[in-house]
Symmetry: C2
Subunit: 454 residues, 2 copies
């Protein structure tokens, strides 16, 4: 018996398409560069990952949610620095007209050359803004330019006062948000890792100045505990504190959570001490004081912000990579029996945590006999009230097990001819391939227990 993890991204891309996790956007039209659609299983899986974050954040008494619009007033981006500073340096090749990033271009004899044709005749670099620009209203002129937000964070900062007042929150408190952002990246890539349209899960925690580094440390700890619950393998994550020279202009401290993808270590989440940069900037540009009045101390101050910012699509991709395993089953208990039922003796298995798995339990009639179909469908409908439950009747039972392994279904439930008399079903476990015989009357209770147990 041998087990290997994911070796190359293409293997995962194929599985994702074959099994309904991720499709290329507009594929029938040749696709749209760097845009991806979540298929049925991917949509559910991503939703479960989002819910895990949302619950761990907003079930705390000190954090509330928010759902701000993607379109915001352009002054927001002036204040945040995105209009002036959110740029990449681009040059044009005078020969082949390719436009490219100068800071990533190849050099020849110490001179930048065109990455497409190799010409040395290139224009001076110009700063290209990464925000997507559009026009609101019927007139396409400068007065009506708006941007698709390049980050969700600013939606939280500009709503700070409305949230604090309406929810009567006392500092320290946080605001959490999940939503789409857009960046016109010059070089997107690596499947869903770097895309122009992406989803963020951000939480900004407002604290009293002076307590900020304590809270920065606390949030590092709290976030790492969440990763422990998601099922990451040992040593697949690493943590990187930024040195003073690596810090963004708004940050007083920064800490990355990184995952080892097949294409290398990459950031999943950043935890930042943003100080009072954002509220001060918005105060300056809006003319509105964004302060907090501390009733106990009778003093006003501009809160500092500790931010935890997760790239949702990246986290989903990391969890897909992490879950992937190929297994040679010779010698594994239970595998021989499954081989006898038509299953291959190797398998691909997605080892999702049961609470994240897109399908939690699959209901399989042993054959297409109407009475077995009827019982299986009824069980599926019952279980579907509380769990994500699937029904499958095609091919041999062994082949169906392999299919469920490949989409990471923790439990398969088989209705056979004995079920008709003993009112029991066989439950087969994804990871161990062992089987239990369980009474139909206590199925919900059994499944519920198993969903929590690994």
């Amino acid at each position: 018996m041998a087990t290997t993890g994911l070796k190359d991204l293409q293997t995962l891309v194929s599985l994702c398409k074959r099994r309904g996790f991720v499709f290329q956007s507009s594929e029938i039209y040749g696709g749209l560069n760097s845009c991806w659609d979540y298929g049925p299983l991917g949509a559910d899986f991503k939703f479960n990952v989002k819910m895990s974050w949302w619950k761990v954040m907003t079930r705390r008494p000190d954090i509330v949610g928010l759902d701000a619009a993607i379109l915001m007033h352009p002054m927001v981006w002036k204040a945040s620095g995105h209009i002036d500073g959110f740029t990449d340096p681009l040059s044009d090749c005078k020969s082949c007209k390719t436009r490219f990033r100068v800071d990533q271009a190849p050099l020849k004899d110490g001179k930048t050359i065109c990455p497409n044709c190799g010409s040395k005749e290139i224009t001076e670099p110009r700063n290209f803004n990464l925000m997507f620009k559009t026009f609101m209203g019927p007139v396409e002129d400068a007065a009506n330019v708006v941007y698709l937000r390049p980050e969700t964070a600013q939606g939280i900062f500009v709503n700070f006062e409305n949230v604090q007042t309406s929810m009567r929150k006392k500092i320290p408190f946080g605001i959490a948000q999940i939503g789409k952002s857009f960046r016109n990246e010059i070089t997107p890539g690596n499947f869903t890792f770097r895309t122009r349209e992406f989803e963020q899960m951000e939480m900004q925690y407002f604290v009293k100045p002076g307590s900020d580094m304590d809270w920065f440390e606390k949030w590092k700890e709290t976030r790492l505990k969440h990763y422990d619950t998601l099922g990451f393998k040992k040593n697949s994550l690493r943590f990187k504190e930024h040195g003073p020279k690596e810090l963004a202009h708004y940050a007083r401290a920064a800490f990355d959570v990184q995952y080892e993808f097949p294409f290398g270590w990459q950031e999943l989440e950043g935890i930042h001490n943003r100080g009072d940069f954002d509220l001060t900037q918005h105060s300056k540009f809006s003319g509105k004081k964004l302060e907090y009045f501390d009733e106990a101390a009778k003093e006003k101050f501009v809160p500092y912000v500790i931010e935890t910012a997760v790239g949702c699509d990246r986290l989903v991709l990391a969890l897909l990579c992490n879950a992937y395993e190929e297994e040679t089953l010779a010698g594994k208990e239970g595998a021989d029996k499954e081989a006898g039922d038509g299953a291959a003796d190797t398998r691909i298995v997605m080892r999702f945590k049961p609470n994240l798995a897109p399908v939690q339990v699959a209901c399989l009639p042993l054959s297409k006999k109407p009475d077995l179909q009827e019982i299986s469908n009824k069980i599926r409908d019952d279980l579907a009230e509380d769990f994500r439950a699937d029904y499958d009747e095609s091919a041999s039972i062994g082949k169906r097990y392999r299919r469920q392994d490949e989409i990471g279904t923790p439990l398969c439930l088989t209705v056979d001819f004995d079920t008709l008399t003993d009112k029991k079903v066989t439950i087969r476990h994804r990871d161990t391939m062992t089987q239990d015989r369980v009474e139909m009357s206590r199925l919900k209770e059994y499944v519920n227990e198993k969903m929590k147990s690994f």
Copy 2:
């Protein structure tokens, strides 16, 4: 005792801001026309409405989910007809330069005049496309134009084959999706009713031609049952079948679900028989056959589509309007006692269904004594594992009840001095204002029961 519903929209807009349901987007910068942000309670409420729809759709064995990107290949919009036909006729006033919709402009002596200055000197109408346009990649030219999707439906049609194949679905089956769409409306308005950025909940159900009108009728019934579970008052909804002349070019039959807003009857949902219009168009423009092979009948066909399309923000707004009540409490059982505890003898109450309420149970210590605070916080944390639970210790208990009424919290739970010895808490019901004394040990069970019972 007298009860009145919502009379004007502005009353709701104020409540929504005051209590953290909805804020104007970028309000500190003077707002962005027609853009709104969901505050903490609004975000939770909207999420619950979406979950209600998502569950009722995707827990069925014949419907799967999808989460397609907002940015799609421009040919999608050529095929769908949006590039050529999704337009409003606009004219410019030669005198004051206002641009306006000709089909909604005032007339004088049978001639269109400028709605701003009244001038008769206006340009010939031009068709203005309602899609938001932007550029993907670093070059702003025609080759790189992309659009923000004006509807989620096309994401489902272009993924039809990938979904059907990967999920091995047999017709009839449906694909459900929730997501943002964007329309550059000339005249947005009525709070969150008509906005340029909005969220849709769409389901496209693929059927065999000939069975389409049966399925159209079935989906009308099924959708109406869902509205019954959302808590709409009697006669607040009406249903309208379109006559042959009212049908959109793609529709063979159409049926509206309308709600009576303070500003009149307006559509919440459309149920359409789209025939094979969409798959045929995409087949024609992509050159890819979008057919289904019926194994039993050994025949190929292009499926017909029954669509159910809900405006999510509209449904949320309708439910907010529907829940709003002002009540004069004189004579109401329980009200006198609350008046003795500092509560006003009138109240605003949001009568949300408990499963949709943003806060389901509020934990209130009778006073700020540390032992009462400690027990209340512990109860809140326990309940927060399964419910949306809040904690509030400021002001008199009567005032806190009124505050919870205004955000629609079904249950208030008060920890008092007797709790220390009898291990019981008082549970006060939003609608009846009656109280129960409940043992702390069976609180979860009690709350769980109540959440299902009204």
